[in-house]
Symmetry: C2
Subunit: 207 residues, 2 copies
């Protein structure tokens, strides 16, 4: 298959191309696209070569066309329903997150274990009891779950989601979780981003 690190870059290409398209740019070279993304032009050409023959050497890529092709590669021609687990501080912020709307992503269900939260409507979604997650996803399946529960609850709830057929998990809890082969899991870990920056703060010797 295609190396995972290549797949991980594609959404960055899509985001950059979408911004260029909004600004009315029609053609872009691999050099210019590389500068936008901090990637060499050779890397751009190599990444794209996995998915077909885009652009003619020397005349650049057609922005709108490349954008359409990559959206199709990423499965963005359909809308993806998501379940949110944990409707606390972070969960409520995710329910009103403005970044999902135009990106074919939509939080369709939300689950919590707190009786005071279950049954309330937040961000247009009625919060369900996490005890019913299997039955609820049987009736109306989702492929993606976002996990915003306390760290101690993360693994048990992910096990239940996997058993209920969820194949992709975005985990915000600061704990290493295990998923079986065939299930994708990504951790949103601010510490990794921050530590990649302290390197520069230190070595810049701002002392």
């Amino acid at each position: 298959g295609i190396p995972e690190i290549v797949i991980d870059r594609l959404p960055l290409y899509v985001r950059a191309l979408a911004l260029l398209a909004t600004n009315g740019q029609e053609i872009i070279s691999s050099k210019e696209l590389g500068e936008e993304l901090g990637v060499t032009p050779a890397q751009i050409r190599k990444d794209l070569s996995y998915f077909g023959r885009f652009g003619k050497q020397g005349s650049g890529y057609n922005v709108a066309q490349l954008l359409d092709e990559l959206r199709e590669v990423l499965g963005l021609t359909q809308r993806w329903s998501m379940a949110l687990l944990g409707v606390g501080r972070l969960g409520r912020a995710i329910l009103s997150y403005g970044g999902f709307g135009s990106q074919q992503l939509h939080v369709a269900k939300a689950f919590d274990s707190d009786p005071a939260v279950i049954g309330t409507e937040i961000g247009g979604v009625v919060v369900e009891d996490v005890k019913n997650v299997a039955a609820s996803l049987k009736a109306l399946p989702v492929e993606i779950a976002i996990v915003a529960v306390p760290p101690s609850a993360a693994q048990p709830v992910i096990d239940e989601l996997v058993a209920a057929g969820v194949r992709a998990i975005l985990n915000y809890a600061p704990i290493a979780v295990r998923v079986p082969p065939g299930v994708r899991c990504r951790n949103v870990d601010p510490v990794v981003y921050l530590h990649a920056m302290t390197y520069y703060l230190k070595s810049d010797t701002r002392g």
Copy 2:
């Protein structure tokens, strides 16, 4: 200098090595470390070669020693104070985030623009008026800021932070922000993680 993509991988090595050290593992091969991280053994050796001569060919790396060396490379021998901008739903979740404590990261200050929030103490920090951010950071500087304000407020607040001497920004708002050279900025963008997963959901043709 060292390619940014290499620096971005180091915190993942530190996290994996720290987990191994807690489990009492003393030696690890580049092959085994690679399997933990989804990186080839050759890539591990190449990345580490930028920072010194670790481990003897064939006998693996000493986990505790490599961990210490990489922590030093990343500037994790000191504690970094951070300022939080925006103490709403996400901001409050960040103030009580358990993942910073053991990672040399600490939210020392918090700012908001809402009079109802300014002056209150949340997660051990008294919320200050964002109008005073320059004066507050002059008196007690921080190097890192976490931005959890609405998208429309993100760029103006980042401009003020940069003017006040902040050199590293972790931005949670779904908007492309600009920073001058010499300032690091990372975006926490759940959409990029999710789109990298829809690729597999689609091409697995779970149909």
